[in-house]
Amino acid sequence: MSSQEMERSSTPGGRGTRPTAHELARYESLFAARTRGMKSSAMREMMALTERPDVISLAGGLPDTSTFPPELYERLMAEVSLQTARALQYGPTEGMAATAECIVQVMAAEGTAIDPADVIVTTGGQQVIDLVCKTLIDPGDVIVAEAPTYPGAVPSFSAYQAEVEQIEMDSDGMPIDALEETLDRLAAQGRRPKFIYTIPNFQNPGGVTMSLARRRRLVEVARERELLVLEDNPYGLLRYEGDPLPTLYSLDAAAVGRDSASDLVIYLGTFSKILSPGLRLGWAVAPRPVLEKLNLCKQGADLCSSPVTQMFVSAYFAEDGAWLRHVEHLRELYRARRDVMFEALAEHFGESADWTRPEGGLFIWATLDERIDTTDLLALARNTEGVAFVPGRAAYMDGRSGSSSMRLNFAGIPEAEIREGIARIGRAISQQLGLLGFLGSPPPPAAREGEAGEAAPGEPPAPDTGEGLADVVKLPRRPDSARGRRRQDR
């Protein structure tokens, strides 16, 4: 009820009394301190505008749900209807036993054995992030995350007033020595992070995968320092090339000599990317004491996840091998789309741009000439070209770094639209680079390594905080041979 409505309910006509700004001040004083950190940025407002039919959006986190056969959906729902009363009833907070069995199958396909009793079914993977924060984070507690990190985790971290330390990734994911340096620095301040948040496979938004050596080392470090790890793995099964790598969960379970239980990794999984985000079903596999708290927190959040969709999933998994065939189909579909995006990027993004080459997942992270701010570029691209992407700043807690990067989704839209979308962004980039040229701004040096500290003559030195340099996301710059190959590809 709006303040005006409240006002009118007492005085019909709503005249001659004193409402709003005072009401507002009253609301303001009622709002929890944590809401202050939740800002609706101008950038997010702008993102809302990209949902228009004439805009090609490479911004979404969407998988393609159009390939799920409608007749199969109908048959599965008919099966659910055989147990209508149960489907329409509340379910257990931890999830239905049959759902946990499906999750065991998915985890097995990830090469990870788990005990179904260690599972809690959640309302999407997003709820795991929320529940883990709710369970572990007091205001001011530290979370260590990758840089860039999943933009959708940022509001959750903010809501619990966490302080987030971000570790710049390279082509092998989070460098563990950099993690250790950060942990040492925090320890020197008497601080210990509550958990380390990582997306080891085809990271969102970075598109990079943590190497096996780093996975092993991360688990060791976590064990040495008794830290929890939140392993967010929505895309692990969507691998288009290369060999699958073991999950952190399974590495830790093996390291402690247990078949199926890690005692420091909280694993986050979801049906959203391998089946459907509309089902809103995800899960956590967690050490028992954590699991119990997650369960209590979930009771307060939503009591239980939908039995209707849980029963849909169990009906689906009862169809012999159907879910694996669907995942295989998605792999083929997305692999082709990813390759189309690679080609289009090489053709349209110009020499000053670079991008990650994910072996799976949904996203490519592209980094442009450092003089371009992708938030501004989005405004131009949306208005003059009709195309949208996620500006890199969304993936940084400070809302400032990552300003010359962007996240591109290759999975959710058809190949022709990917080509056209990338061409459109390319035109907007060309326009900005052309203007920079007219303004006499020299392009940044091709090889940046080793000269980051140098300031131009007559310029004040860059501040030590690294803030000025944080705009440059150091994701892999391919060797020159790869650039040459890209040119030949055209």
Binding site: Q4, A48, D376, L439, G440
Partner: protein, 324 residues
């Protein structure tokens, strides 16, 4: 005060300020209904004229932000349709919305506004205007504020602290508008003075415009380089009436009214000023002819401090449609 009327509220549209406008529009619709009017909200699109022709409203309340709502486009259209509409006429809208034009007029009229230059994208491309940048740098110095000439939010507004940062900041601003304003940075307190031109006192519509209590925007933390977080929701607290010495308050209000009249505003407008930390000088930054009407907007806060409820304020704004 007024007979029930049929009022169309224009909101939304496709500008970058769409969501703010939708919120403004919803608040205004509530208030107008509360005042007993018959209200139709219109999310502005290609069928705007068709909808207005079908509706035949007595008045059109413009709660549309962004280019077409504020630059005179919609106002001209209302004149073409002979429909009474709220707020300033097309020429005042064009003058107020274009920060460069507004500042040029202020400079000519002797109203203090931070020193500035402007560059057009076409001039940079076709006339080699990039060559003028060093001269601008010498005159304005650093840090410099770079803004798109038109655009209501903080989007595209950047501080450039050195000449290496300037081209990027300018290209960023050119993403929103073909003209860029380069302005000397004033370090001080942000003030917003709302001016009401209708129903000012009991004298009715022809009374002199009056300034409402000043709102000061106080950033929660000093984020000099980060315009967005400085002005983003939740990062700023607003104090109204602003705690200022009486003489500064008076000067600020008089300046705001001068700007209101200079630009030819009608009904209402919000004038943004800075008061210099060191010298206590006042500088007018810009005028806003379609001020936000959301729950946290500055005009409603200022009106409230003056004892004017939100509904009354909306009623006064509606009056401006009939007192042109």
């Amino acid at each position: 005060m007024t007979a029930p009327r049929r009022v169309a509220v224009l909101k939304g549209g496709s500008s970058l300020e769409r969501s703010v406008s939708l919120r403004s529009g919803a608040q205004v619709e509530d208030a107008l209904r509360g005042l007993g009017h018959e209200v139709s909200g219109i999310d502005v699109g290609t069928d705007l004229v068709e909808q207005l022709l079908a509706l035949e409203p007595d008045a059109v309340f413009i709660a549309l932000h962004g280019p077409q709502g504020e630059d005179g486009t919609v106002q001209s259209l209302m004149e073409a349709l002979a429909l009474p509409y709220t707020g300033s006429p097309p020429a005042a809208c064009a003058r107020g919305t274009d920060k460069v034009l507004a500042k040029q007029l202020m400079r000519e009229a002797g109203i203090p506004t931070p020193e500035f230059e402007s560059l057009r994208q076409g001039a940079i491309r076709d006339l080699g205007a990039g060559g003028a940048v060093p001269s601008i740098e010498r005159r304005l110095g650093f840090p410099m504020v770079v803004k798109p000439a038109r655009g209501g939010s903080a989007l595209g507004v950047k501080f450039a602290s050195s000449s290496t940062e300037l081209p990027g900041a300018m290209v960023g601003a050119f993403s929103y508008d073909g003209t860029v304003l380069l302005e000397r940075h004033v370090s001080g307190r942000d003030l917003a003075v709302s001016v009401l031109g209708t129903g000012a006192g009991d004298g009715g519509s022809d009374a002199r415009p009056r300034a409402l209590p000043i709102v000061e925007a106080v950033p929660r933390e000093e984020g000099f380089y980060d315009y967005e977080s400085r002005y983003g929701i939740g990062m700023t607290t607003f104090v109204c009436p602003a705690e200022l010495p009486a003489d500064i308050t008076d000067r600020a209000c008089n300046l705001a009214i001068e700007v209101y009249e200079l630009l030819g505003c009608h009904g209402f407008a919000r004038i943004d000023l800075m008061v210099d930390h060191e010298t206590a000088e006042l500088w007018v930054l810009e005028a806003n002819v379609v001020p936000g009407m959301t729950e946290t907007s500055l005009l409603p806060q200022a009106a409230d401090a003056a004892g004017i409820s939100f509904d009354e304020l909306v009623g006064l704004m509606l009056e401006s449609a009939f007192t042109r």
